[in-house]
Symmetry: D3
Subunit: 243 residues, 6 copies
């Protein structure tokens, strides 16, 4: 808790690119510090978030998935993270009991100190809601002493919600502005990996990073902070310091 | 921000004893670490929170104030904190422009890295509401570059709200469970200083400390955490760590 | 608590007529049962709620006040209640320290088991907000053991918020639907006393009584319930029954 | 409504022990008054809430279920209640159409005047959320005139939410503090029946009972109230009294 | 956006009659203006909202459905709307993947500029919650560029939530009071079509229309507005005017 | 209501520059359409929002006020608006009865169809809270038939809250994204007038305008919308259209 910080960080991302735009800085920061950072993409975002790819002549669903897998894998590498894809479908995402079991096994295998995922309610995108609900449910199962006695129960990792596209309408009130200035170039590099599908978002999220940086300074961060990412905790933080 | 933590902590307490029951552990913790911890009591709680004293034969308002001042000063000493009393009256507390100026001057003089005060809405005790509102307003004035050019503007200290007596009805949702195990004995000693006025609360707040400690462990604190205090941040925290 | 119910009911009404439209049924019900029911009107509603009177040729402020006093007194009598007027002005209502002292003295003199007043936030009418805040503040002062040692401290009466004119926009969520069927005729009689100033509201509030009666039946009230009034508790109720 | 109170009380408990810790006092109180009190455990809590049992050498899932059934049955008897187990699994609980039909049939058979269950949102335990949602949904089906014409439609019983383990984080704001002082010994006896699985909670919930008792007195309960349980209503209460 | 307004309006109604009581005025208004107005009834409300029909001797489930279909079709015609029935069952409504696909196809075929449906949380009727969630989810799927490349993606129609039966308890805060005075007679005619199943509601909803009309005038509508319906937007409105 | 829109727009701005950053586009838009647009600055923001001016050698409070008056007047002119300054002081703003009377007279003189002001709760700046509360209170007084019988009562203008600097922390959820693309150059010109005091904000608010424009398009605005401003309504809108 007061140790050098989490050694294992795990992200549950509804679509293949969400983790890049919304939490890429946090991931790069922890990878830089030597943490094991792992991303689970529940889907490729193949139907709903690959508009650029679908404009290409003769594109197929498999073609989109392949392209998205390549882009996201490159982005994860740029951030220093590993990534896997559960291919559960998007728009709508569907999570059955088998998919839950898979995710529970992943949680136990990685034993994350910190989880990151979407907000609980996004009226623009109910896949995000389901990713959030699935994260809480599988975290609970992974904690159960009576589940799969051959692996060790999960502890009580905090679940950080990352920023949705339209934060106010989703009821997102940030309670942590994370300084990602030292790794901004790496987030930029990762964002550029997504250019085939959603390239127009690079500028948008760069501006957002600057804006959150300004707000961080207004909330007491040092003058050198240039870029930040916003998060919301699901549970109270615990610790030995007033901060 | 990632430094050893605040060097100056300031509490705005509506009544003379609030800081003891609700934040005594936090204060002792920081005093122990060498921080300058200062308490501003807006009133003595002479009318509304001195039931035990009023039961004494021939007690007067001045007598109650004197007793409360002595108790609170002893409690502050036990915690390692300094204390001052603005004597603004209680039940109801009244804060005029002069009192605000005094508090602004105190804020600039102490330059706290962290502020602690009451929740914004306590339907049982509107003095608490006024203490909260006064803290935000005077913090804002103390930050203004055009206010009193002879002293330095305040930075942007976080305002931690401490736990009210009936948390749920006050809308208090803790987002920090602070481990105060190492200093619990000192909080206990401070609470016992208040025995003349509100002695029956010592057991109540001891139980609460244990209960918050259990919750801290359920939220990921180490097994050695036995006592905690609950707080709520007014602003997002800023930092370089996901916690 | 499980006794035959409150023996003393007190209403804090921002304007002279509020208590009639919004809580007349409750007052008549308790008066019928032998409770002492008392109404404190902070103002006559002379500027803002006497549109009908102002249409009369040559009407003056004093004339409006006189007419409103007469109407409200007649309405209170119809309900079986006593009434007094503090004449603090309306639109805007202003409550100074002296007015607070007066209200504290009234609270101690009547020692109500139940208080009724406005909601905390009415964006259409900030006089209502002030009446609510004043009720909570003076209730707190009246409870203080160190306030005016010649009179007895108030207990902990529940504060019921009555229904505002546009409930949803005021954030009013009723948690008690009170069956006022047995006294509806008396409320109707009281409402008709206000005809000089706001006569058009009689039908409106009659319809509302029916609507709340329908909702009461949908929430489990017996089929014989024809009219109800809606309230919201400020504090948890206490008792020996699950209801 | 103003009659001697509910004659039939039914609890929907996600796991085998929840009803004991969270509502045992309420159940004993009504059993004492001659009400028919029935508990439906959706699962045994076999995986997630039987840590003590799993520590026993060679324990199996069936062994845990058997032990939990025995403990919960003994606890229900201590409270004066009957109990049945639907064995739907825990961590995660899963409720299919067949399970819903079973619960609807139980609701119609018992015709409860009052229902008790979990809060709608518990981020620590999504089984609780599902138990809440299932209770509202099956209550609705049981009310439908066109469902199973051979049994009688359910009325409109209130649904009381009992207190979760971390109330503030679950958004639990109590609006009823129920005096369970007369039956505290029976709740204690029931809690002790769970010692095999969760024995460490007896002290925790005893302290909570005392704390809620203190709060009840602060909200107007008589001085003799020593222990209380906290609940939240899902619907407005209806009645003929302001309380 | 600033054009003469929507040319295509689509309603997702959980039960066969909901669209009449809650949004009949809005539908008639747009039909009058030449818009294509289409209603999708997810169920007939055959079990839960046909109490009057079930009282008839020898009534069967098919008989109720037939009667409800006839009533709702007549009501839709009276409003100038077309209607279709998905017959997914009620109390509880169940929506599987196939039903979602059907609704997505309907959304793409009608390409509505405006959607209307239920509120997200109705503790009295979870079918309403499911209709809301289904509307958001299928709207999202219909927007996806990678879904069914043979039909055109949906734009970003606003989703208006219509008024539930007990608005405050459902957390319904209206942000649009729609003047339906010019078409009130048509809504009345449509409501009377439902007389076989829920005839007692005609007066209730007539009173509600008047009440919402009064509120509209209080919020600035012209004096000629006699009847209104209340709605809540799910997303921010966009436009070129401050209104 | 469905007419060409408001003919009179009035802004209540806590400090001299707030109206420029937060609502400059809206003001220019309406000025362009021929509406009378008037700004009331309660203070000059002389102490708290003139950091750049205070850095100038030998600056005095009067000097800051003079400079701010000049800047704001130029900005208002650039937007096509008139402006007046009540000089009530800032950090903290103080509004006494006389100031309220002045504002009521202004409201009656301008008879605005639309009001714009700050959000109700801004924990960073309680001057904003007071400006909001003062707007609601003086609007209410200006509506009263019995207030100053020599001038005409105000109607029921909507109160639009403009966007605070840290929207989520202030609980600001926009419900109107106003297309200000046609007048963006004029807002830019107005913002540049403030360069002496807060010049660093021009880029920040330009980025924000773009970001809100993107969001407007995501909520259905035409592709040509490049810049938007976000607002929140205080009351339900009324009208004859679903938008």
């Amino acid at each position: 808790m007061t140790a050098p910080g989490p050694g294992s960080v795990l992200v549950v991302s509804a679509h293949a690119a969400d983790f890049v735009w919304r939490a890429g800085g946090a991931l790069a920061l922890y990878a830089d510090r030597g943490a094991a950072v792992h991303v689970v993409c529940l889907s490729f975002g193949e139907r709903g978030e690959s508009q650029g790819l679908w404009k290409q002549e003769g594109m197929t669903l498999d073609g989109v998935k392949t392209a998205r897998r390549a882009e996201s894998t490159a982005a994860a590498q740029a951030l220093g993270a590993t990534v896997e894809f559960l291919d559960l479908g998007d728009y709508p995402l569907r999570v059955d009991a088998g998919a839950e079991d898979t995710l529970v096994a992943i949680l136990r295998a990685h034993a994350p100190d910190v989880l990151l995922t979407h907000v609980p309610h996004d009226p623009y995108n109910t896949d995000h809601d389901l990713a959030h609900a699935t994260t809480l449910r599988t975290r609970m199962v992974a904690q159960a002493h009576g589940h799969d006695r051959s692996t060790a129960p999960l502890g009580a990792p905090q679940v950080f919600q990352f920023e949705p596209h339209q934060p106010e309408v989703c009821g997102f009130v940030p309670d942590l502005l994370l300084d990602v200035s030292p790794v901004w170039e790496r987030k930029l590099e990762a964002m550029r990996c997504m250019a085939g599908g959603q390239g127009h978002l690079v500028d948008y999220y760069t501006d957002l990073g600057v804006r959150r940086g300004v707000q961080a300074r207004r909330n007491g961060a040092p003058a050198g902070v240039t870029h930040a990412e916003a998060f919301r905790r699901t549970y109270p933080s615990v610790g030995t310091e007033l901060r």
